[in-house]
């Protein structure tokens, strides 16, 4: 077994027992990257030199007998390129920020480094996190490492592909309407969106601030739990971050039964267009939970399923149109030459790709005078209704099982209509509207070796329960194997 095939917690064990040097670990992963990257294109900025330098520094500290950072000592991590990391550009997959070097680190970067992690690079993404295929990146598309003809999902497609291909055991993404869970599902790895407020977003480039949340990708639930443990703090620099961390998430995986838990299956999904193989995964997952002692019941989420999409595509673009107003060429980022300031704004903002442009325009429309009540206010009311509906459901059950995506990964270039692309998020975005935690789990492969998925959703701050349920499912479905799509190409 190569070093790049190990889970992060195992690597940290090797390093802290001095069985391996951090440099060995990092070189092994960098080797894997250089083998796959020409075909995969998962990274916008690889950071070999900085990673090796950091590895040697950690090794020197270990040699000198200094106290080791934990619990991710020597563990390679890749960041979605919308998280600020000093020493490399933070591009957001956009020409607007192609040359932008952030003057500070995101809080998650600080927490990871304090825990001993080594950042290997910045991952590709749909421009400003708007998309479900990573085809909207100004740096070109990323391939799915399970099958290079397919998309990796999005918007955190580079992070998901990196973990699936063995670039790193852990990567971070951000999830506004499904941007962690959907690419995790498409690449056949685990991906978790925690409760809104669990992880600080200081240094995460804003898309839709009432929905955005950072979370981990991994091929092993232990790594997901460990990463949550490292990242969950009340951060004074993010006013929405919460002190509500509940215990050590790693301990949640010790669960040996689901006795006493009630798990809900959502009725309305049965009428939606879902690939039958994904529907079967949910049924399979329900049986696993039942065998582990849980009681399975049916719940209704009519508003979330029928109206979530419309509600989301009013609220998210409205927030985006406001958040992206700052890209005007004045203070940082790209500036186009122009005669007057207004011309400079327009010429600079020409650099936005077409999906970003669409969302800014839609957001401008729903917020504009005369339409605000009809659209934005109505969507806010629907959002409250959806929150209430989830609250009611969680009076009856501890967690919900549903598919992450309605389809299996599709071919690059196959989905050209924006509306069709938006349907990818139908099962993930209601969770963001309500600020809930959810995890997308690897659930085995189809006959064509395409990854299956199942999503577990819980009430706010129920990460411990979710991880407990997930651990039972991981035993049944197995841990995600490394994707070897590049090895034979």
């Amino acid at each position: 077994m190569e070093l790049w095939e190990y889970p992060g917690w195992r690597i940290a064990q090797f390093v802290s027992r001095r069985e391996l040097s951090v440099e060995d670990v990092v070189r092994s992963h960098l080797g894997r990257i250089s083998c796959c990257e020409p075909q995969l294109r998962a990274l916008i900025t690889p950071m070999e030199d900085a990673a090796l330098e950091r590895a040697q520094r950690l090794d020197a500290d270990i040699q000198a007998g200094k106290e080791l950072p934990s619990p991710l000592c020597g563990v390679p991590v890749i960041l979605k390129d919308n998280m600020c990391f000093q020493g490399a550009p933070t591009t957001c997959g956009s020409n607007m920020l192609r040359e932008w070097h952030p003057p500070y680190n995101a809080s998650v970067v600080e927490y990871l480094e304090e825990a001993g992690a080594v950042i290997l690079g910045k991952a590709n993404m749909d421009e400003f996190a708007m998309g479900s295929s990573t085809e909207n990146s100004a740096f070109g598309p990323t391939s799915n490492p399970r099958n290079l003809a397919l998309v990796p999902g999005g918007s955190s497609g580079g992070s998901a592909a990196s973990v699936a291909a063995g670039y790193c055991p852990i990567a971070l993404g951000s999830d506004t309407g499904g941007s962690i869970r959907q690419p995790a599902a498409f690449c056949g790895v685990h991906g978790m969106k925690p409760t809104y407020g669990l992880i600080s977003r200081y240094g995460l480039v804003a898309f839709a601030s009432s929905l955005d949340q950072i979370g981990p990708f991994a091929r092993d639930l232990g790594d997901i739990a460990l990463t949550l443990d490292v990242l969950s703090f009340k951060d004074p620099r993010d006013a929405t971050s919460s002190p509500r961390k509940n215990g050590r998430y790693l301990d949640a995986l010790e669960r040996s039964s689901l006795k006493g838990l009630r798990i809900g299956l959502v009725k309305e999904y049965e009428g939606e267009k879902i690939d039958p193989r994904l529907e079967a995964s949910v049924v399979h997952a329900a049986r696993v939970c039942q065998d582990a002692g849980a009681e399975i019941v049916h719940v209704s989420l009519k508003n979330a399923i029928s109206y979530g999409l419309a509600c989301y595509y009013i609220i998210a673009p409205a927030e985006a149109s406001s958040n992206l107003a700052r890209y005007d060429g004045v203070r940082y980022g790209f500036r186009a030459p122009a005669e007057t300031l207004i011309e400079q704004y327009c010429a600079t903002r020409r650099e936005f790709g077409s999906e970003v442009q669409r969302r800014i325009l839609a957001g401008t429309y729903v917020l504009s005078s005369g339409y605000y009540d009809a659209y934005y206010l109505t969507a806010q009311k629907m959002r409250q209704r959806i929150c209430y509906e989830f609250d009611q459901a969680f009076h009856d059950v501890d967690a919900l099982l549903m598919p992450t995506t309605p389809t299996l990964p599709f071919a690059k270039g196959a989905v050209t209509s924006p509306m069709e692309m938006y349907l990818q998020d139908v099962f993930t975005l209601p969770v963001n509207l309500a600020g809930l935690p959810a995890i997308s789990l690897y659930a085995g492969m189809t006959e064509e070796e395409l990854p299956l998925n199942v999503q577990v959703v819980g009430p706010r701050w129920s990460e411990t329960t979710l991880l407990g349920v997930a651990s039972m499912l991981e035993i049944a479905f197995g841990t995600p194997p490394i994707a070897k799509g590049c090895d034979n190409a």
């Binding site: 932008w100 070097h101 003057p103 809104y196 407020g197 004074p236 006013a239 929405t240 919460s242 508003n303 109206y307 999409l309 419309a310 509600c311 595509y313 149109s321 060429g329 004045v330 203070r331 940082y332 980022g333 500036r335 122009a338 005669e339 007057t340 300031l341 207004i342 011309e343 400079q344 704004y345 327009c346 010429a347 903002r349 020409r350 077409s354 442009q357 669409r358 325009l361 839609a362 401008t364 429309y365 729903v366 504009s368 009809a374 659209y375 206010l377 109505t378 969507a379 806010q380 009311k381 629907m382 959002r383 409250q384 209704r385 929150c387 209430y388 924006p418 509306m419 600020g435 706010r460």
Partner: protein, 98 residues
């Protein structure tokens, strides 16, 4: 609710300080038609009794004391400015010539 025309798209673009080409405008008219008809689905539900901001979780919006804090990254932040003169940001002409 009315259909979106090319003129409406151009108006939105002006408000958002975006430049759109005639071809893009055509695509955007189609896009607005599609997305607005999906929004109209929300009209199926009676939401008259819902307070749009009523149930928002107060713990997600905590208040803090209004106390100044120091930030030592002034120079690093100013270094990001595309065109700088000393501590000022240089921009093109703001007023139109008479």
């Amino acid at each position: 609710m009315a259909e979106i025309t090319q003129k409406d798209v151009e108006h939105m673009a002006r408000l958002a300080r975006l430049e759109v080409s005639p071809e893009e405008t055509e695509d955007l008219v189609q896009y607005f038609g599609d997305i607005l008809s999906s929004f109209h689905k929300l009209g199926e539900v009676d939401l008259s009794d819902v307070d749009p901001f009523g149930m928002e979780n107060a713990e997600a919006r905590p208040l803090r004391e209004d106390i100044l804090s120091r930030d030592d990254r002034r120079e690093a932040i100013l270094e990001q400015v595309p065109l700088r003169e000393g501590d000022y940001i240089r921009v093109p002409r703001i007023m139109e010539e008479a």
